[in-house]
């Protein structure tokens, strides 16, 4: 597994292996590498620094207790943590118990996110795709993803039919995939 930091000598997988052996320094390195991703996602969802810090703490403590939850063969660490951060933040937002254990989550990312540069390039594409979407489509996708609303809740909020919301969300995701495939 390549590292997210091009200057780092230790790969993400090596760090996880060290954490399995109880290496606290490896945990510190992993935190320094990915904490800003986890915190940013949680803050975007929760809009509250204290609550975002709680999510950050919770996720890294789970990783400390169960580093084997990350399956390097089936996911990228940055993407995996981003999805977990989003899910946990939504759970916190809706004041519900976490729906999934972190080890249950498989995230398949085919895009190159190895280095900061690769990630930035991919993010530019994603932001471009979002900007290019019709506003109602982007809004439906963001409400579902960053506010954790169900399609029926979005339909209720926007006054649009359920089927329209479903179609918009799927079309948004297809547009995202299309631009990333280029």
């Amino acid at each position: 597994m390549p590292s997210a930091d091009p200057n780092a000598m230790t790969s993400d997988l090596e760090l996880v292996t060290a954490i399995r052996s109880g290496d606290q320094n490896a945990m510190t390195t992993l935190y320094d590498r990915f904490s800003s991703i986890v915190y940013s996602v949680a803050l975007r969802v929760l809009q509250d620094t204290g609550a975002a810090e709680d999510v950050l703490q919770d996720i890294f403590m789970q990783l400390w207790r169960n580093p084997g939850a990350f399956d390097a063969s089936r996911g990228n660490m940055a993407a995996w943590l981003a999805v977990i951060a989003r899910n946990r933040a939504i759970d916190a937002l809706r004041r519900r118990r976490p729906e999934n254990d972190i080890e249950d989550l498989v995230v398949s990312v085919e895009h190159d996110l190895a280095s900061e540069t690769d990630r930035s390039r991919t993010m530019e594409k994603v932001r471009g795709a979002l900007q290019a979407m019709p506003a109602p489509q982007r809004s439906a996708l963001e409400m579902a993803y960053f506010e954790g609303l169900s399609h029926s809740e979005i339909a209720g909020k926007t006054g649009e039919p359920l089927g329209t919301i479903k179609t918009r969300i799927r079309a948004g995701l297809l547009a995202l995939r299309k631009v990333l495939a280029v």
């Binding site: 810090e53 890294f60 993407a79 398949s108 895009h111 993010m123 979005i154 969300i169 990333l180």
Partner: protein, 266 residues
């Protein structure tokens, strides 16, 4: 998309966690048996993770790092035990260097393997026997269901056969199983109910106790009616059954009306 097209929109919503209710349940059922759709969910989560990664925001405050490191220090983890244990075992073998012991272990392993093979064979036989019994029971249950469905089907043609030349008389048949408190009662040729009246089935206990109410019922247009498993007290031995014509409203704790049909015993 390389997924079942009918699930395409629901898969997107599911990956977002936005699918709820019956649709979510139906999709999860489908996902249990569809590797292609499970793979699509993983890819959709991957696409969505990129959406999450676009949230470039401030770095967490230093206190968050300090808080985590303190928590980790308070919860030290021991190094994984398995590799160390294997290493110790290898050293022990090498130190002793006893080929005879290795042979003995190999023989022991073979004996255990043979034992397991035999056990496996027995288990296979047991499984085959259980499967056969299961199939047999399933077939019997299916037959029983068909019988009950036919008896209870309001559209089924029910024709009472009586001696030629006689007018059809009201008839009833009660089948009662004391052990499980099961009662099936079938009636036919019942006269139409007068206004504000209803039929009531009664169980007469063998110990001479007071009759027990066993269900109110109204016949259909052809005079047929069915009562199945009414609530009954436990362990009552039945001496007889009867149907009376009762007021529709009021108490039904004891028969007050006219008997319509009464059991004659087996």
């Amino acid at each position: 998309m390389t997924v079942h097209e009918q699930f395409a929109e629901d898969l997107a919503l599911y990956a977002l966690g936005s699918l709820d209710g019956a649709e979510r349940h139906a999709l999860e059922k489908h996902l249990d048996g569809c590797a292609s759709c499970r793979r699509e969910i993983e890819q959709l989560r991957g696409d969505l993770s990129l959406l999450a990664l676009t949230t470039a925001g401030p770095k967490p405050p230093a206190r968050a790092r300090q808080r985590l490191m303190s928590a980790i220090a308070d919860e030290p983890r021991l190094p994984a035990a398995a590799p160390a244990s294997q290493h110790r075992q290898r050293s022990w073998w090498t130190a002793l260097g006893l080929p005879a012991l290795r042979w003995a272990s190999a023989v022991a392993l073979i004996v255990v393997a043979i034992g397991l093979l035999r056990q496996n064979s027995t288990l296979q036989r047991d499984l085959a026997s259980l499967r056969s019994r299961f199939t047999d029971q399933g077939s019997k249950l299916e037959q029983a269901n068909e019988v009950v469905a036919t008896l209870l089907d309001p559209d089924a043609k029910k024709i009472e056969l009586v001696a030629a030349g006689n007018n059809p008389q009201p008839r009833g048949k009660a089948i009662y199983q004391r052990r499980n408190r099961n009662l099936i009662f079938l009636a036919s040729n019942l006269p139409p109910l007068p206004a504000e009246k209803i039929y009531e089935l009664w169980l007469f206990p063998a110990n001479g106790g007071a009759p027990i109410a066993a269900g109110l019922f109204k016949p259909d247009a052809r005079g047929s009616a069915t009562v199945v498993n009414p609530p009954l007290p436990e362990g009552v031995e039945a001496k007889n059954f009867a149907v009376t014509l009762e007021p529709e409203s009021g108490s039904h704790e004891s028969p007050r009306g006219t008997p319509v049909i009464v059991g004659v015993g087996e």
